[in-house]
């Protein structure tokens, strides 16, 4: 809810996400899909719309769209139809995009959001359909000319459309992150937003709580979660301002200006939206074998929601911690490797604390972690068997990150083994008390606060290697004498 000058407003948001399918070849041609190739080096005669060329669909792209539908608990439509969406633009050589309009391959599904207050919200998925990407136009190469690269033309996209169930920028951000996570678990889209593998259009309107939907504006082509949230925030405030002045929202397509953080109207005419869809006469309906769909369903991996629930029940993690660990499937895998046969909470603690800290410093993902799951497990074992105090373990971990060495060899090389010899610790206690006889006397006179000072001195005298629990126990005994 957003508080306006005249009372509260509620945002109504629906997202259309374009997710690039991770196929090697394009949706209807045998040209490659690699990112960053030389311009026009991955273009077939079909992609460039040479006369007489016919599209032939890539079976793998269909498979991944169906898997995506299954992962969104959606209806798989055994018969779907490809249509032509007609518009003119230089990076669309045929003058139409092959898409699916009235009969998409995937129907209604759902996606669950984990809200920050611990509740869950179910967001409806309207549909998922397969379509071709367009080429890329560069407008900044020449003052009066545009440069066109068709490498992207014809690459398979899944358009994933949500119901207008989202109510804030925060929810839109959660939705996008969750969708990305599911797609990556399914292995149907790499979710790489910098390379444009996941792009988002946002439909935003405002209304008074409980009233019907207002007129919406569509913000096109956002390529990061942060931009989606910023654009929705801005657009919501813009619409409220108009509505509160008694104005009406004009339905239009808008662009988000990243540099200025505002949305602005595209200057295209309304006519541009008349796509005159009709079934593509070059393509027969897509008919799926129910047995094949059933096999794909049986092969689905464990998805984030199920994994999170299992982490809570099997490992006793809090839902929050489990949610963090399952967001990326690589992190979940790493955690399970560390946690197996060990204290799962210690594993979660180290991964979400020191390891994430190190990965963030380097700006890398867990798959490139300098510390392997096996090494982190060994470190936790060294704490469990008393070789290392947790304080020493932090030092060893820092060394592991810096040198990629095994914790056991660092402990040996640096002599970091924890001191658990009672005699040695008792001697250190005696020495510290003798050297600070004045403070010892003050302590006896009632200055309890000096206890911490003694602990500090003893740890320093043992170069931090004394077992803290033993120090506490022996010091207390000594002071009580």
């Amino acid at each position: 809810m957003i508080e306006g000058a005249t009372g509260p407003w509620e945002a109504v948001i629906g997202l259309e996400v374009h997710a690039q399918v991770v196929s090697k070849a394009k949706l209807f041609s045998g040209a490659a899909t690699d990112f960053g190739a030389e311009p026009n080096s991955q273009v077939s005669l079909v992609d460039a719309a040479f006369p007489g060329m016919l599209p032939v669909i890539n079976r793998f792209c269909v498979e991944l769209a169906v898997k995506t539908g299954l992962g969104l608990e959606a209806e798989i439509r055994l018969e779907s139809v490809f249509d032509r969406k007609n518009y003119f633009y230089p990076d669309l050589p045929p003058g139409y995009q092959i898409s699916q309009y009235q009969q998409p391959v995937v129907g209604r599904g759902k996606l669950t959001l984990d809200m920050s207050d611990g509740t869950v919200r179910e967001i409806g998925i309207t549909r998922v359909h397969l379509e071709q990407d367009a080429g890329k136009s560069l407008h900044d190469q020449h003052p009066s000319l545009s440069y066109v690269d068709l490498n992207r033309a014809g690459i398979a996209l899944m358009e994933i459309v949500s119901e207008p169930d989202l109510r804030s920028a925060e929810e839109a951000g959660l939705y996008l992150r969750k969708l990305r996570s599911i797609l990556r678990y399914l292995g149907t889209c790499d979710g790489n937003m910098e390379e444009g593998s996941l792009r988002c259009d946002c439909n935003v309107s405002m209304r008074r709580p409980g009233e019907p939907y207002g007129t919406r504006c569509e913000i096109k082509n956002l390529n990061s979660v942060r931009y989606v949230m910023q654009a929705i925030e801005y657009e919501g405030r813009r619409q409220i301002e108009i509505l509160e002045k008694g104005g009406a929202i004009e339905q239009q397509t808008r662009l988000f200006d990243v540099a200025r953080g505002i949305t602005r109207s595209m200057r295209s005419k309304e006519e541009a939206h008349d796509y005159r869809y009709f079934p593509d006469p070059d393509l027969l309906p897509l008919v799926l074998d129910p047995g094949w769909v059933a096999r794909l369903r049986a092969e689905l991996p464990e998805l984030p929601d199920a994994k999170k629930a299992r982490f809570v029940s099997q490992y006793g993690l809090s839902p929050d911690d489990a949610g963090v660990l399952v967001a990326e499937k690589e992190t979940a895998l790493f955690f399970e490797r560390v946690a197996t046969g060990r204290d799962p909470k210690a594993a979660a603690h180290w991964i979400m604390g020191d390891l994430f800290g190190a990965l963030n410093r380097f700006g890398i993902g867990i798959e490139a972690s300098p510390v392997s799951a096996e090494q982190l497990g060994a470190l936790i074992d060294l704490i469990a068997d008393g070789t290392l105090s947790s304080r020493l373990a932090k030092d060893v971990f820092a060394e592991m990150v810096a040198t990629r060495a095994h914790p056991a060899s660092i402990v040996e090389a640096k002599g970091l083994r924890q001191v658990t010899d009672q005699g040695e610790i008792a001697a250190a206690i005696d020495a510290v008390l003798a050297a600070n006889s004045d403070k010892f006397a003050e302590y006896r006179a009632g200055r309890d606060k000096l206890y911490g000072f003694f602990v500090g001195q003893i740890m320093r005298a043992t170069a931090g290697k004394a077992n803290p629990a033993l120090v506490n126990r022996l010091l207390k005994e000594k002071l009580a004498q």
């Binding site: 079976r59 545009s146 200057r267």
Partner: protein, 88 residues
């Protein structure tokens, strides 16, 4: 008429609007005769042959022929097609 011409990117002198509109109207009337047949409950015919959509494996079999792709372009530069500026 102006709208249809714009959508189809056809330059149409205004003098031709009315005769063409009449022709199009006659075509539409002729097509509408099909509505006289009751097709409720009958699946649309999508092909004259009872064929299924042929599929292809996910293999890279084409591309790499930039010269061929660009050969007929009126203008190119550094491997790009070059067209009059189009900006939204």
């Amino acid at each position: 008429m102006a709208r249809i011409a714009t959508l189809a990117r056809i330059k149409l002198p205004e003098a031709e609007w009315e005769p063409l509109a009449n022709e199009l109207a006659r075509i539409l009337t002729w097509m509408e005769q099909l509505n006289e047949v009751d097709t409720s409950g009958i699946a649309p015919m999508t092909s004259v042959a009872a064929a299924r959509l042929p599929m292809r494996e996910d293999r890279v079999t084409e591309g790499g022929g930039r010269e061929e792709i660009l050969a007929n372009a009126p203008r190119t530069a550094r491997g790009f097609f070059v067209v009059p500026k189009v900006v939204e």
